[in-house]
């Protein structure tokens, strides 16, 4: 096995509720690019699903995003986009939010491996 490191570094994208965004931005992943476009979207109570969809699609086509973090409850609303994304990069990672704990049954990635593991493994 050989390892090679690429020169350019990539960003993490983020689609989350206010608390998730605050926490991770504090962790130092938020960035506005040259056109003041953000790599994160704060999803509030009144955010339309269409807006989330557009933003997520944009993130998926951006060349400088390597990983996209998305709260699982938001992911459930845009499940069709997530299932349609089959490229390994950017990696779509579903994370729990403060109100909604992590549910392995809904995770798109683990659905692909259905049958290879049981729920007992998650406990």
């Amino acid at each position: 096995m050989t390892k090679v490191t690429m020169a350019k570094s990539h960003l993490l994208g983020l689609v989350g509720d206010e608390d998730t965004c605050t926490a991770f931005l504090l962790g130092g992943i938020g960035e506005l690019n040259a056109t003041r476009e953000a790599n994160f979207l704060v999803v509030k109570q009144d955010t339309v699903i269409g807006e989330i969809e557009t933003f997520l699609k944009r993130l998926l086509t951006r060349k400088d995003i390597g990983i996209i973090l998305i709260n699982q409850h938001i992911a459930n609303d845009v499940r069709h986009i997530i299932e349609a994304h089959t490229n390994p990069i950017p990696a779509l990672l579903e994370i729990p939010s403060k109100e909604h704990p992590y549910d392995p049954l809904k995770d798109s990635i683990l659905k692909r491996a259905k049958g290879m593991f049981s729920i007992d493994d998650m406990r």
Binding site: T2, T22, A23, L25, I29, N87, P88, I89, D121
Partner: protein, 261 residues
């Protein structure tokens, strides 16, 4: 790729349409061996990939379980910071400018499949160095650290995920090829070789039969010739015996054997 004419019949199945000859037979045998070698190599590749796949899946499940706990810690420390420093969310969100923590790609190779992984890469300065200096600075710093730990873990998790998806695709393709060779290509060669051997054997049998027939014919001819010769000799002897009884006539040309010294 050259597409050869493949013929299929009900009884014999698929086979390559060739004129049966010994040269073609040895060519087909070599290719058959090649197909078998290719099949076993691909199977090994598939096994190696599947092994790595299962290992990756196990790690993903482990990590996702840890992630749940880590995220809880993040939200807890965020709540603590909010309690001590007030609502910092607006300040944080509006001051996002340059990301300090980014990711770098690393390429890896497993059993011939290229995998891409992520590693955390920090550059630049902390935009939020001054946040919370007013009140509750410690809780804000703690929240920052917890979040960074969480980000590190999430980057690892994303790496595993990417590996998982890439391997999944590679395994599907490889297995398709293995099955193709096992159930289509190899039977085709086996049928072709069986057919050629059959035809060559039949030709040999025909040749043998032909030779036998010719020999028999020759025997008959020889027997006829022998009979004819015997009759002729018998006639000649009868003539000579008759001519010996009569006196010699010198005027008739006789065959005079040469006198050799």
């Amino acid at each position: 790729r050259v597409r050869e004419a493949v013929v299929s019949t009900q009884s014999t199945g698929d086979k390559i349409n060739v004129f049966p000859s010994r040269m073609i037979l040895s060519v087909m045998k070599t290719r058959y061996k090649g197909a078998q070698k290719g099949h076993s190599l691909l199977k090994k590749k598939s096994d190696a990939l599947t092994l790595k796949f299962r290992a990756t899946l196990k790690k993903i499940i482990e990590n996702k379980t840890v992630m749940g706990d880590v995220m809880k810690a993040v939200y807890f420390s965020l709540a603590e910071a909010a309690y001590a420093a007030g609502d910092i969310s607006q300040t944080v969100i509006q001051n996002a400018d340059k990301a300090q923590n980014k990711i770098k790609f690393t390429k890896d190779n497993v059993a011939g499949v290229q995998l891409t992984n992520f590693t955390m890469h920090s550059e630049g300065s902390d935009v939020y160095q001054l946040t919370g200096l007013g009140k509750g600075g410690q809780t804000v710093t703690r929240c920052k650290e917890t979040a960074q730990k969480a980000i590190k873990l999430l980057i690892e998790l994303a790496s595993l995920q990417t590996t998982f998806i890439t391997l999944d695709e590679a395994i599907k393709i490889t297995n398709r090829r293995v099955n193709g060779i096992e159930y289509v290509i190899i039977p085709r060669f086996e049928n072709t070789i069986a057919y050629i051997v059959e035809e060559l054997d039949e030709r040999d049998r025909e040749e043998f039969y032909r030779l036998k027939k010719v020999q028999d014919k020759k025997k008959v001819i020889r027997a006829k010739q022998k009979k004819f010769l015997e009759e002729y000799n018998a006639k000649q002897e009868a003539v000579e015996a008759a001519s010996e009884a009569a006196p010699r006539n010198l005027l008739e040309t006789e065959h005079d054997p040469d006198i050799m010294f």
